[in-house]
Structure formats: C-alpha cells, structure tokens
C-alpha cells in the first residue's frame, strides 16, 4: 500500500462528504415540491410531461397503489426493451449491422436492466446497436435508477408521516428523480468524460493500419452519455465488454476518480435527504456513518490483499502487487477503490477483473453484495435496504431492554418486524438455494472459468450479484440457457421482493401517529446506535453467508497460501 493510494481514496471521500449536504438538501427540495434553482428551467418541461402522460400530480397514493404503479411501469419497460433487442437488426442507428438478439439473451438483458442489475451476458461492442445502447439500455439506466430513488423517497415518507397513510405519487417521484437529479448531473459528467477522451459520436467503427503494420478496429458510439448515467444511476452495464476497465469508458485516472465519485454520490446524498425528511439530520448522518464505516473496512481489506500480491507469482522471484486484470493507469489503489465502490453500491461496473483478485479481495466484494449493498448502497435501494436493518436493530435493542421498540416516535410492532425480516430473508433464499442447485447440476458447473474453490466462488458470486442487482461478475460463467433463466429469476426476486415489503412497511408506519420521545427512548442518532446497527448487519450477514463463503474464497485463500493450484 502507498501513501498516494490512500490519499486518492481520502480526497475522493472528502469531496463526497462536501457534496452530501448540498445534494441532500437539493433532493429534499425536489421531492417535497419546493423551489430549486433548476425549477424555472425544468418546471415547464415537468408540467408538459404530466399533460402528455395524463398524470395528476397532486393524486396521493397509498403503498399498494404506489407499488402497483411501480410494477406497471417496470412491466412496460421490460416489454419495451425485450422487444427492442429482438428486432434491433432491422432498426436504424446500427452502423455495424449487428443482428437481433436471441430470445434467451434478450429476456435476460431486459430483466437485468429493468432491475438495475445490468448483468452482462453480452459483449456490448459486438452485440448492441447504437439504438439499443442509447434508447434501450441507457434509458433503462435512467428510469431504473429513478424508480430506486422514488421507492426510497416513498419509504422515507412512510417513516416521516404523521398518520396520513399516503406515500406520495409514484409518477411524480419518478419524473422528478429523472429530470431534476439524474439528467443534470449526467449532462455535466458526460461532458467531462468526453473532454477526457471518452468517445461520443454516431460514426461507424473504423479499421486502421497500425504503425506495426497490423489492422485494428476502433470502436465508436455514444459512450460518454451512457457512461455518465451508468455510474450515477449505479447501473453498471458496460458499453463495452471490459466495462470501466476499457479506456473507451474510463481513459484516465481523473475519469476513474469521477466515476467512483458518481457511483457513491446519490446514495450519500439520500442519507441527508432522509434526515431532512424525518426532521432530524443527525438521523441521516448516523446512517451515513454506518454505511461508510463498512466502506472503509472493505476498501482497506481489498487494498491490503491486492497490494500484498500473489505468493505464487512471488515464488518466481517476481516482485509487486497483484496486477493481473488491472489497468496500468489506475494501479492497485485505483482498482481496489473502484471495486469497493461498485460492490458497496448496486453498480457492478468494474475497472478490473474481480475474478483475478486475491481471494480476500474477492471475498470483500462478495460480502458487500451479500450484506445487501449498503456501503453506501445503490441509488435509493441502498437507503431502503439500510432502513430494513434499522428496523431490525431497533427491534433487537427493544428486546434487550424489554420495552416496545420505537423508531422516530413510532412503535415498531409485529407487522413491521415481519416485513423487515421478509425483505432480509430474500437475499439468502435466492442466493444460497440457486447456488446449491447450480453447483449440483452439470449445466451449472460446465461453463466455469476456474477450477477448485475458485470455481465455486464464481457460482456463488453470480447469484449474490444478480440477487443484489449488482451485475459485477467473477466472470467465468458462460452465457447459456441455464444461467439466462436462473440469474433472471434471481434478479427479479432480488429487486421486487425487497422493494415491495419495504413499501408495505412504510405504508404501515405511515398510518401510525408518532408519540413524543420519553426518557427511555433509544436514540437512533447516537454512536451507540451506529455500532449496534453495524453489529446487526455483520452478524446477520455472517450467520447467513459465512458457511457458503468458507467453501469459496476462504478455502481458496488458505489453499493458495499452502501453494495449491487448480
């Protein structure tokens, strides 16, 4: 590890902290209908959008209506992308004349983008037309992130409501998330990226004769505009197969820092928005503290593992850290930080090969997914996943002292705890069971890229990643029908079976009237609470996943240091 490597991480984090309050306040204003500095510009556009779509902006929805609207929109978005990919071969903006996708691949990709997962069973640069990239995939990058923010805001409204029972209007939240938050930041970021060298054009690929006399085809396309929302919306589906490792998506150390910043930006800002909405910003900072405690723990562990290097390579008298699968311009620090950010959120963009990380580096990435991506989490989904742990922690704390647990003055009762547990249980059920099935079936293990425990890690990682809607991979798994279907199901349940219980929980809390805090009320803004929250997260995660992880990266680590190869 080097001082500059740490400095890079600290400076990016400092900029992130500096932006958390301004962005959080801005989003608070946007979602509570207050005036912002962009209102004069965007309000006419917003009103026009409601006129065309027939949305009545002041209609309030209860949690069931909110969930139905969200599901309806998700279904239409899925059908649209599925159809687009099936016929892209006969549509315009396809200078490379890529054919239409097979139904299996189109189905998997449509679910993948719908759920903000962006798992890549395809190589963008040799599969997707410009039309599919910008009007299909990049559009989903916006709206799946917008849906995530909308759900998070609705859940927070439930926590903050004074007995009204309404969670807001899904269409308005979605529209505002896209227009006021995602679009302006993406425009600025896209221009910075292209100023640094990310291509942004509609030209056909160009084949050139190199100085050495060889031929090379240079990829074009609207890459910068897609890259910006891919990171900001914690989507992660690469324009090209190598994702953010490719200089086409991430050409300089500065773009690398910008992309890490974008990945973390909205999830951090939403903690402040949460604090403002519940009327106590310390509540938001407590969640921020818990999220970034996990983040730094993860980064330090990955960075240490990768900087220490591979003992099997050191045996050959070669010195240095583990550079396999990493780019020269980012180095080990820039790659470790990116991977911590992308797995601590639901992004899944990668600037290095996680499959080639040291077992402990890979383990941290895997645990980040298994804990539900809360360090600091995906746009929206990070906050509501953290809030499910907050409910659980308050419940456990209540049991410890033998009094009815309260959260923000509201009694946490049987129904709330049941719903939070339901959301927490989705992860183990849809990760561990499919992993076990895949490990037993020939179809599940025939396409692995590595043997031994590392091969098992590939399967476990695939289901942890798709269930958590991350989309990063230990690679290795070949695209075949078994994985198209199995990961598609895992993504679907991972998204909707967390979001819907959380909306139901919020709906239940929204109907309760808050009671005044008494002397015995446990403060959810104190350092004690943050520690208890971290303990709950780690104990739940460890109890659930350590046995499986022991068969994968942990076994891998010990065998590697014992000198075993596979």
């Amino acid at each position: 590890m080097t001082l500059t490597g740490w400095l890079q991480a600290v400076v990016i984090f400092a900029v992130l902290i500096a932006c958390t309050k301004p962005l959080g306040s801005y989003m608070f204003a946007v979602f509570t209908g207050r005036r912002t500095w962009l209102t004069p510009l965007l309000a006419p556009l917003e009103r026009a959008l409601y006129r065309i779509t027939g949305v009545r902006a002041d209609d309030e929805m209860n949690w069931r209506q909110y969930a139905l609207a969200m599901l309806g929109f998700s279904f239409v978005g899925f059908a649209y992308l599925f159809a687009l990919l099936l016929v892209q071969g006969s549509l315009p903006l396809n200078p490379q004349h890529f054919p239409s996708l097979s139904p299996g691949l189109a189905w998997n990709t449509a679910i993948s983008f719908l759920t903000n997962t962006n798992w890549q069973f395809y190589a963008g640069e040799s599969t997707m037309s410009y039309l599919s990239q910008m009007a299909g995939l990049a559009w989903h990058n916006f709206v799946s992130a917008g849906v995530g923010i909308a759900i998070a805001i609705a859940v927070v409204r439930g926590f903050a409501a004074k007995g009204a029972g309404s969670l807001g209007n899904f269409w308005v939240d979605l529209t505002r998330a896209c227009l006021y938050v995602l679009l302006p930041i993406s425009m600025v970021a896209a221009l910075v990226l292209t100023a640094q060298g990310v291509p942004q054009n509609l030209n056909a690929y160009r084949t050139v004769t190199t100085l050495g006399g060889g031929k090379q085809t240079i990829v074009g396309g609207p890459i910068a505009s897609q890259e910006a929302i891919k990171e900001l919306g914690t989507n992660g589906g690469g324009y090209v197969n190598a994702n953010s490792a490719s200089p086409n998506e991430n050409p300089t150390p500065l773009t690398n820092a910008l992309e890490i910043f974008l990945i973390l930006l909205i999830a951090s800002g939403l903690t402040y928005t949460y604090g403002k909405m519940v009327g106590d910003t310390r509540q938001g900072w407590a969640i921020f503290a818990a999220m970034f405690a996990l983040f730094w723990l993860g980064f330090a562990t990955i960075y240490h593992a990768e900087a220490s290097g591979n003992p099997l390579v050191h045996q050959l008298a070669v010195r240095g850290g583990n550079t396999e699968g990493k780019e020269t311009r980012f180095g080990i620090a820039g790659s470790s930080l990116f991977i911590e950010a992308t797995t601590g959120t639901s992004t899944g963009a990668v600037n290095a090969s996680i499959d080639s990380f040291m077992p402990i580096g890979g383990l941290v990435a895997l645990l980040n997914l298994q804990l539900g991506e809360i360090a600091p989490g995906g746009v929206g989904s990070g906050l509501y996943a953290m809030l499910e742990f907050v409910v659980l922690t308050v419940f456990i704390a209540g049991l410890m002292v033998g009094r009815t647990p309260e959260l923000l003055g509201k009694k946490i009762e049987r129904r709330e705890v049941q719903l939070a547990i339901l959301a927490i249980l989705v992860t183990p059920i849809f990760v561990l069971i499919p992993t076990a099935i895949a490990a037993l079936l020939p179809a599940g293990s025939s396409t692995l890229g590595n043997a031994g425990p590392h091969g098992f890690s590939e399967i476990l990682y695939a289901f942890s990643s798709t269930n958590a809607n991350n989309g990063s991979a230990f690679a290795g798994l070949g695209g075949d029908r078994f994985y198209y279907i199995a990961t598609g199901i895992s993504m679907f349940f991972g998204r909707f079976f967390v979001a819907i219980p959380m909306l139901a929980l919020a709906g239940s809390l929204a109907e309760k009237r808050p009671v005044a805090a008494g002397a015995g009320t446990f403060s959810t803004a104190s350092p004690t609470f943050v520690l208890l929250l971290l303990g709950t997260i780690l104990i739940v995660g460890a109890l659930t996943f350590l046995p499986a992880d022991a068969l994968g990266p942990i076994a891998d680590h010990y065998l590697l240091y014992a000198g075993r190869t596979f």
Partner: protein, 195 residues
C-alpha cells in the same frame, strides 16, 4: 391496474424520447463542437493517415518498438471488438503457466537485461487494450530497442522520460507512458523507414 399500465406506457414513450434520444444527441452535438478530436475517438495521424487511437492499446511485435502488456482480448490479444481480462484466479494453474512462459519470452527478447521482468509485463490488463505501460515496464525494454535501432541507450531512456506522465494532480492513478506515443517518438528519433 389497466389505468397504471396506460400511464406507464405513455411515461415510457415520453421518457424514451427525452432520455433515450434527446439527451445523448444533445451531448453528441456539444461534444462534437467542443471536443471534436476526443469525442470522435482520439485518432492519431502520421502523415495524414490514421494509425491508431491515443486511448486504445495495440499489439506490437517488432523489436524496435515498445511492447504493451499481455492482453486477453481476442485470440491474438488487443482486439477492441472483444475486450476483457483473462479472469483467471490467483491460484489458477493456467495463470502461473502463462507468467512462467512470459518470463521466458521476455528474457529471450531482452537478452541484455539481467533483472527479472517487471510485473506489468507479466500480467494481462483488465481491458486487454491497456494503452499504457509503467515506467519500469518501459525501461526493461530500452536496451533491446537501442540495439534494434542502433542508437545509444540514453536516447531511448530520454524518450521514456519525456513521455512518462506523472500521477494526475500528484495522487490520482499511477505514473505511466502511452505505448503509441513512445513508439511515435522513437520513429521521430531515427526514422520509421530503417527496418
């Protein structure tokens, strides 16, 4: 439910126009005006002919040029249409065998260099089209290039020094040299035509 689907359908149509077309096209327009070279792919021209892209690595084989890192993109490496990493785990037999083979090849290609090859030249990059090498990756090849071009070693070292980029702002990323820029500079030192 039908009511929601109808709104969802209209919302999809409107946002596809706005976010799927107007946004990328607007960015393309601005990028074309403000950063014409970079937005079209950072092409590098020699005598009016495009020979590559500043940001995309390529496969170099001749002794007189700097070589990039090993690449897992496509069967021959450096195929921008099939980018990616080897994805081999750290305890993979294949990975260790590849490192051993690369050590042997590099030693044969660089007989005047007595030390072990630096790790950057022994490990494949993440994208398979990494355009850069580290300064030590470049120095390891300097003797070979000086011999192949029959120029003094110090002129090759001067090219490396001139084209090594430090960390951005002193702390972002790693020091690096662009292989295409290095090789263009070599050709300027003693002509591309001496074969």
């Amino acid at each position: 439910m039908l009511k929601y689907l109808l709104v969802a359908f209209r919302m999809t149509a409107v946002t596809v126009v706005l976010l799927g077309f107007l946004y990328p096209l607007l960015i393309t327009g601005i990028a074309h005006l403000a950063f014409p070279a970079r937005s079209s792919g950072s092409f590098v021209r020699v005598g009016g002919r495009i020979v590559g892209s500043r940001i995309i690595g390529e496969r170099w084989t001749q002794a007189r040029y700097f070589h990039g890192r090993p690449s897992a993109a496509g069967s021959a490496g450096y195929d921008p249409l099939s980018t990616g990493a080897s994805n081999l785990g750290p305890d993979s037999k294949k990975l260790i065998a590849r490192v051993v083979a690369r050590i042997a090849t590099l030693r044969k290609e660089n007989p005047r260099e007595s030390g072990m090859p630096p790790i950057g030249l022994l490990t494949a990059s993440g994208s398979g089209i990494d355009p850069d090498i580290s300064p030590s990756d470049a120095r390891y090849q300097a003797e070979r290039i000086a011999a192949a071009r029959a120029i003094p070693l110090r002129r090759v070292l001067a090219v490396i020094t001139a084209h090594t980029k430090p960390r951005t702002f002193g702390f972002l990323g790693e020091p690096r040299a662009n292989v295409l820029a290095l090789n263009l500079a070599l050709d300027r030192v003693n002509g591309a035509s001496t074969r």
